[in-house]
């Protein structure tokens, strides 16, 4: 009898759940959709204008698709383009396999099993996110190359000499795949874990009563149900993979991003570099569309949160060992080992490297990231509030376009910023020279303005998402109440929303701050002459094979990178309360 009741509940379960999901979605849509106010077109125009300016780099890059091909482009097609495409595709396939393996296994074990340290692993498994791919690449190169501690120890142990033995070369395509997988798997882990936690126990139990083993249940029920979420996480990881410049450049793997750099700086051909960027963007857009699609799918795969959540398997004996290993391996290789190595190098080189120069560069980085975070936050707040005031299609579309920068590789944004800014500078200079007979020089393209703008374009989505989530929690009645008490829209924002949003605003600023600190390729292209940041410093020292010397700047970036991990782990523990 018990079983029959249980079974009947499960059979009908998806329907009420789906309805719940849909009605929840539509009711929030009603709440956040504000009716158009004819007298407020200022905000509207502002939002549309900002979206257009933010889209400028991408539009520029795509405009070059229409330009006739140059000699350099012909040359590229005949020689290197094939390599770029093949390597980029192989890199994506490899990283896909790696992040799936690490992300899904850790998510399943931490979401459904009970073993010693499980609660620590839940957030610690996010730590590899704190390390930018290029820094983990530099660190493993230092660890594993001929002069590094690992090969050194092997030689000392077996008495080998140079050429006596085979050792895998980190600086290779497979090496790049491993490096990127180690720091990007948390995207898959996060989304897959949430999906596993939301699966209702009775669906899984039905599978067991139908004779499936736990392994079968995982493969045939749990995994397919979580698939849309897993795919969404995977696509985020792949966008990061396409955007990576530091790792592939250091490992000598020719991909789109290194190709763009080479064409821009080596061949000095802006048109070909932009065309290459446009080609890369096509790859990215495919990923964006897939991601949108899989998220839509995920909505319909959600099972109700009200149903009983999974009881955890208590792992014992060899199963516990396997469970622990699944969690320890990515954590150890993705964070503990490289961070430990960085720390050792910092201690060893502190006397030389922690000098006034280091302080100046750190200061540069902090000021730059701080100002970028502030600018991005203000623009994000402006856009999000504009969307709240005017919920119409056009404004929503504009805000969505403005939030697309996060998927666009920094290299592409840099090229897309550089070309129009340089053109503008030249135009102004020519005009001023003709009129007043002096040169204005570079007003935009060679200055921090261009760099701040590029960061804003790239990271606006981070600020937008955080602010929008915060705004959605404020009931529209608050706006109406403040308006009826005599406040205009701007005053409502200042006196009601900003104070209530304080937490979200700080979070948004922190996230942008850290992202800017880690950003490498756009900084490399757009920084003013002789202006160094921590990321550029790390890159330059690594390029000179001074890997140990690069550690202090690297570790500073990693430490900052831990901030978003802490924020994420706080939201993880909130979901834990909900599900346990």
């Amino acid at each position: 009898m018990q079983f029959a009741v249980n079974g009947a509940g499960c059979a009908s379960a998806p329907f009420p759940c789906r309805e719940q999901g849909v009605s929840a979605i539509s009711s929030t849509a009603v709440e956040t959709t504000r009716r158009p106010h004819g007298w407020l077109s200022g905000w509207r125009l502002g939002v549309l204008g900002v979206a257009l300016v933010v889209a400028l780099p991408v539009l520029t890059v795509f405009a070059f698709f229409l330009q006739p091909a140059t000699d350099a482009w012909q040359h590229l097609v005949q020689t290197a383009l094939h390599d770029y495409v093949v390597n980029s595709v192989l890199l994506m396939l490899g990283v896909a396999a790696g992040t799936l393996l690490l992300g899904v296994s850790t998510a399943w074990v931490s979401a459904t099993c009970e073993f010693p340290g499980r609660r620590v692993f839940e957030w610690a498994l996010l730590l590899p996110m704190a390390i930018p791919a290029y820094i983990i690449a530099y660190t493993y190169t230092g660890l594993l190359d001929f002069a590094g501690p690992v090969q050194g120890a092997l030689r000392a142990l077996f008495g080998w000499g140079y050429g006596d033995y085979w050792f895998p070369n980190v600086r290779s395509l497979p090496g790049a795949i491993v490096m990127l997988s180690l720091v990007l798997y948390p995207y898959v882990y996060l989304l897959a874990r949430a999906a596993f936690l939301e699966q209702s126990v009775c669906v899984l139990e039905v599978s067991r009563t139908l004779g499936a083993t736990p392994m079968h249940t995982f493969l045939r029920v749990a995994l397919p149900m979580a698939r849309p979420a897993i795919v969404a996480g995977l696509l985020l990881a792949l966008m990061e993979t396409l955007a990576d410049y530091g790792t592939v450049q250091f490992f000598g793997v020719s991909t789109f991003t290194t190709g763009i750099f080479r064409t821009w700086f080596g061949l000095g051909d802006a048109v070909a570099a932009a065309q290459l960027s446009a080609l890369l963007m096509t790859f990215v857009f495919v990923l964006i569309l897939l991601e949108r699609w899989s998220r839509r799918q995920a909505r319909y795969h959600e099972t109700g949160a009200r149903m009983k959540s999974l009881p955890r398997h208590r792992l014992e004996g060899w199963r516990m060992a396997v469970g622990l290993a699944v969690c320890i391996v990515p954590l150890a290789f993705g964070f503990l080992l490289p961070a430990g190595q960085l720390l050792i190098w910092v201690v060893r080189t502190a006397g030389r490297m922690l000098d006034a120069d280091f302080l100046r560069i750190t200061g540069n980085s902090l000021v730059l990231a701080g100002s970028a975070a502030l600018v991005t936050l203000l623009v994000g707040l402006f856009m999000a509030y504009g969307k709240r005031l005017h919920g119409d299609r056009l404004v929503q579309g504009a805000v969505r376009v403005a939030g697309m920068g996060y998927a666009i590789p920094g290299t592409v944004i840099a090229i897309g910023v550089m070309i129009p800014f340089a053109w503008l500078d030249n135009t102004i200079d020519t005009w001023v020279r003709a009129r007043f007979d002096f040169s204005t020089g570079l007003l935009l393209s060679g200055t921090l303005v261009a760099l701040l703008f590029a960061y804003m374009v790239r990271f606006l989505a981070v600020a937008l998402q955080t602010v929008e989530a915060g705004l959605a929690k404020i009931r529209p009645g608050m706006d109406d109440a403040a308006r009826s008490l005599g406040l205009g829209p701007l005053d409502v924002l200042k006196k009601v929303h900003v104070p209530m949003l304080r937490g979200s605003l700080i979070t948004a600023m922190l996230l942008v701050f850290v992202d800017v600190l880690k950003e490498l390729p756009a900084t490399l292209v757009l920084r003013p002459f002789n202006f160094n940041t921590l990321a550029v410093r790390t890159y330059e020292l690594a390029a000179d094979e001074r890997l140990a010397d690069a550690a202090s700047a690297s570790l500073a970036i990693v430490l900052a990178g831990i901030i978003p991990v802490i924020l994420l782990s706080q939201s993880l523990s909130r979901t834990r309360i909900r599900y346990e």
Partner: protein, 354 residues
Amino acid sequence: MNKLLEVIDAEVGYGGAPVVRQVSFALEPGRIGCLLGPSGCGKTTLLRAIAGFEILQGGEIRMRGQVVSHAGWSLPPEQRRVGMVFQDFALFPHLKVGDNIGFGLRHLSERERRARVQTLLRLVGLPEFEGVYPHQLSGGQQQRVALARAMAPRPELLLMDEPFSSMDAEMREQLAREVRDIIKEEEITALLVTHDQYEAFAMADEIGVLNAGQLMQWDSGYNLYHRPGNRFVADFIGQGVILPGEVLNEGQVQTELGAINGQLPPGCKPGCKLEILLRPDDIQHDDQSALHAKVVAKAFRGAEFLYTLELASGTRVLCFAPSHHDHPLGEQLGIRVEVDHLVMFPQPGQTASV
């Protein structure tokens, strides 16, 4: 121009068919009006249009003779001198009670503002709550703070959207009377929206009944009950049943309950078919009466019972009887019709004017 608020042929909607159609009414200064109707009738939409949150599709709204809304144009809410109490109160959670009330008083000096806040806190009976956050208050206290906040800037018109809907039934009427006293003391003109007729009776001087976006009747509570202008109002306000009848002569209508005496509207000739509204208090329990009806349901109301009685034909009527007249279900009761003022409507499909 002695009207404070005039709504003239107002039409409001969200893109599709209008939610509010051709509504007109006016409020004089110092009066409390009420828009009453079932949920979905458009009353809140109309209130939001008066506040300036919705744009009119047609008609216009005037305050003190000035047009504040016409089709496609609307004076921003913050420029209307309109206060509003929201259904969920919408108190600012990041501000203390005193700052919530003082929110709309930015034009005053610090000292004046504090004085005004104190006055209002005393007025709503919460003098010692100035430094408390809204979430520390009970529902009724939040309600009063919301009222104080809306009244603080001395609005010309106070709008209230289902202000008591989150209260339990007992508190509702008491609070409604208190709020009415406060509004009257401040000599504020107010317009309230509710679906609860007792709340409307307790608060308002005049009430407009809305149905499906149209204004059915604008009148005092007494008249809505005793002189409903149409079947919807008769049905919606109070309790009662509607029976068919036929005019016998100038002062009598024949019904199942016998001939009923009453003043007939002019133009109604003998033989014309009518519908008669019978309130529970129109039917008296009378053991001497020859007319009997069976008790099919009864509800205890403290001082009285509300009986549902079934006539031989199967028609049901309602009857109030003092509560010591306790009759079991199924018993036959003697009843008598005693109507002070006969309410009649033409039968559906009949063109005869009433």
